[in-house]
Amino acid sequence: MNIKSIKTWAWVHKWSSLVCTAFMLLLCLTGLPLIFSHEISHLLGNEVEAPEMPANTKSANMDDVLASAKALYPTRVVQFLFRDVDENKTWTVSLGKTATSEDDTKFVLVDSRTAKVLDEPKFDEGFMHIMFKLHVDLFAGFPGMLFLGFMGLLLVVALISGVVLYAPFMRRLEFGEIRKDRAPKLKRLDTHNFLGVVTLVWALAVGLTGVINAWSDLVIKYWQFDQMSAMTAPYKGLPPPTHYASLQTSIDTAQAREPNMRLGFIAFPGTSFSSPHHYGMFMRGDTSLTARLFKPVLIDAQTAKLTDSREVPWYLATLLISQPLHFGDYGGMPLKIIWLILDVITIVVLWTGLMLWWKKRKQSPAEVSQALSQADKTTYVLAKNVQGAK
């Protein structure tokens, strides 16, 4: 690599990093508590546990579960009914002012065995909510998501240019060599290069999946346009249902269609994951992977009969798979701790990178040329030799 291309890559690395660093520090810091959101909510006492019951206790009728939640807010519309992947004692029901309203949603936690209301969790306030919003959209909705997605792309550019620059700096160093006894600048540079290259693949994976997640709203919108509208085409133009079939019967129909899967969540008629005429039953498999690849089963909300069911298309599968790879929530506590450590190391890489730029910025041009690293000189000499040999 000649000195000119090194300079070009150095320019790319400097500017892609500088633009995204402040946001990446924010994402790394807010991401830390989010890794443990479940545990933190539990510690803060915000999470009500369902009482222990014998494992063979039967599940309540889902119509009763629904009725318990609706009794609290009779004028509201049920939007979704959902539970975490490893939850089997409760269901959470969300109720909005309309089927598609997003603000002022009420949540009701219902025991799935007794159909008794356990709690009304507040998902849209408190410390964890602030962390979540800062991490996802900076409180700026869809434009905020896209903006952070773009910052993620810059991170990927910074990582790739960083790898390219790793070579000229390491030509005369052992792997992992940190020049501690020399100038602080060299120690910082070596630390940045070493920690950066060791955590590279993880940072790329979490960065890229973060970018994909930032597009989730658009991916889901496209899926609705592409698949949902095709599945519900026969119902187009029909007046909305005047009565609704039993929820339990509808679930039984979906379960009969996918006997080896279990219910993950239900989108009620009129919400963004169903049609005005359907219950969208989203079934999940029982491995780490298939539990995340929801399969939609559409049930006619008036007759409880099956309308259609399709595999998720590749783009939605990509989004669904990129979620666990970003959250680190698919390997229990050990994986969360690995995520925590790698996140902290990434903060060190970002910080040392920022400091390298800051200190260099304050040097005079004469000092800069004097401080040109050994690596650059070596490369320069090598490049000259190569050119001389030709």
């Binding site: 790793y166 390491m170 920690l195 491995t287 666990p324 698919y330 690995i338 790698l342 090598l382």
Partner: protein
């Protein structure tokens, strides 16, 4: 020290990257023993850092 070749410089980063990527993917698609092994593979970059900082220096 003589200047190193690209292969020498990227040997360890490639091995670490391979362990990380395999660990990330296999832990997601497999359960049981393979998942545990994948989690172990994911601790490899952390182990390298601990070794370099606390043992080699």
């Amino acid at each position: 020290m003589a200047a190193k070749t690209l292969k020498e410089m990227f040997l360890w980063p490639t091995i670490i990257g391979f362990f990380t990527l395999t660990g990330l993917v296999v832990a997601l698609v497999r359960d049981g023993l393979l998942e545990d092994l994948s989690l172990a593979a994911l601790t490899f970059p952390i182990a390298v850092i601990v070794y370099i900082y606390f043992y080699r220096h």
